[in-house]
Subunit: 316 residues, 2 copies
């Protein structure tokens, strides 16, 4: 989609994942929140309009960076460190509904502090993947032309860094979390009331992801719901949440605005990219996806929610 001069900065982890799935054990799969979010955002943008910031180790293959570039992702902002790349090992349950972390090796990610260089400083839309909330705040301060900032977080920061997280919430426009995180952050079990509480802490717009079931949006215009796409086969949920966020931010950046109507449409692009992600192991499907496939899935989404327009109750 052309037409705007807006660009999207994506900051987050870049990783090697070992993924134990019911279908098999996969090793050294390229992953990380920045990778998934950038790949999911890229179909909406002209080349170089998604700019990725993160850190890789000396073991990270140049070919992978070339592959990301081929998808139109600007990779010159990625830092190269001497140690090994961040590694994660996780195992999924047989129904893919839950996972346990077997091992995490932070490596280069342990001392990561995002350095925003000239090209990235000019970005107007920002997605802050799940990193330390202090670092998320530092990124925001380094992007003077920012128009719309979105962030993810996780229970680890909610429990251990509440004051940093509170500062982060005050400087973002949109928070994207899952239902469990929304409950932990607010201390409220009911999601409608949890959402109201979180929005009072900063983000005017809140998205609560519910995995395969879809996602809720809470903003100044009210509450909105976009379903998950009913898939015939799910291979690997890894990266689905980041792909959702990337699809959402990619669409918003391509439109150059984040009004309630645009954000509502963006929810379907988010859900579409999340649905593609889980159809392959790691980012395989996102790397292969074509524009016509995206157009077809968006059309299928439109049919999935089309009830023919009018809905009202009248009794006589």
């Amino acid at each position: 989609m052309a037409g705007t001069t807006d660009t999207l900065l994506v900051v987050g982890s870049i990783a090697f994942d070992d993924i134990d799935l019911p279908s098999g054990e996969y090793r050294n799969v390229v992953g990380g929140s920045a990778t998934y979010a950038s790949l999911a955002a890229s179909p909406f943008m002209r080349g170089g309009a998604v700019r990725m910031v993160g850190v890789v180790g000396s073991d990270f293959p140049r070919d992978t960076l070339v592959e990301l570039e081929r998808r139109g992702i600007g990779v010159t902002g990625i830092e190269h460190a001497a140690e090994r790349t961040f590694r994660w090992h996780g195992r999924y349950s047989t129904d893919l509904a839950s996972r346990t972390t077997i091992d995490t090796q932070l490596n280069v990610f342990a001392s990561f502090s995002p350095k925003i260089s000239a090209l990235e400083r000019n970005c107007t839309f920002v997605f802050l993947g799940n990193i330390h909330p202090e670092l998320q705040v530092e990124v925001v301060e380094q992007v003077p032309r920012r128009k719309f900032i979105a962030a993810d977080t996780m229970n680890f920061w909610i429990e251990r860094e509440p004051s940093s997280l509170a500062r982060m919430l005050r400087c973002v426009d949109l928070l994207i979390v899952n239902d469990e995180e929304a409950r932990a952050l607010s201390g409220i079990d009911n999601l409608v009331r949890a959402a109201a509480d979180i929005r009072r802490r900063g983000p005017k717009t809140l998205v609560i992801k519910r995995g395969e079931f879809g996602a809720l949006l809470f903003d100044e215009a009210g509450t909105f719901f976009a379903p998950g796409y009913p898939l015939e086969e799910v291979l690997d949920p890894t990266g689905a949440g980041d792909s959702f966020a990337g699809g959402l931010m990619g669409y918003l950046t391509s439109r150059g605005e984040a009004t309630p109507w645009v954000v509502r449409k963006a929810m379907f692009f988010a859900s579409s990219l999340g649905s593609f992600c889980v159809e392959g192991v790691g980012p395989a499907r996102l790397l292969a996806i074509g524009h016509s496939e995206i157009a077809a899935r968006i059309a299928a989404f439109a049919r999935l929610v089309d009830y023919g327009g009018e809905l009202h109750f009248s009794h006589s």
Copy 2:
């Protein structure tokens, strides 16, 4: 809603429920699938156009039947037996997400065989609540002017009466089950493939309920999704599934047809009535609900899914 001469027959259980909720323990609450479904259907119909068939014992209060009549439900088809009314005792988990049955006393329900008298024989729409599939088939055969038949079932019959269930599936237009039942019935974990399997066994239309998350519809026109209504407070899930079915069938009967577009709209009325049900203990909220409240919730549903019309992906 006036305009059609169609009438709805609702067949199922009528019960006294003991309900242990996080908010308290409630005793002798009137319940049963026929009660919830009839109450949920009644707002769409003129007086007497919903006709309830079931059995009550000598302990069932006349006042309750009067209350049902006051909601426009025809109760003359309800059989009165000498024993005690069917009783169920269940306990919910603190988050209301699961429940265990503490006690079931079939009483009059043990020998229940629905007798369809003259008024009920003329009904054109039928909802078969969760009773023995043999009895469900017998009801269908007693309603010669039938236009559209919907049925519910449960894991108990799926496991123990597969051949009766197979016959039942061949004589209904719509099956309404939850996701767990759809998986048990088809033996397929993935819901999209489970739905295709179930539809091959008889019902051209299938609704899979997913509790608070919403419900999926599979029919000749494709796949459709209607969300659950995001409530600030949920008191008691008892009867929500039957209220969903009742709301759906009430709307269809009021329209006098069940085309794919009408069924899609009906999904929102179903979800609305299900959402009202859980706001009160037992059928309390359904008994109190006014037309303006239903109209307001339907309008809120329309906003919940309104993304402004156009949704397409174009890339340049």
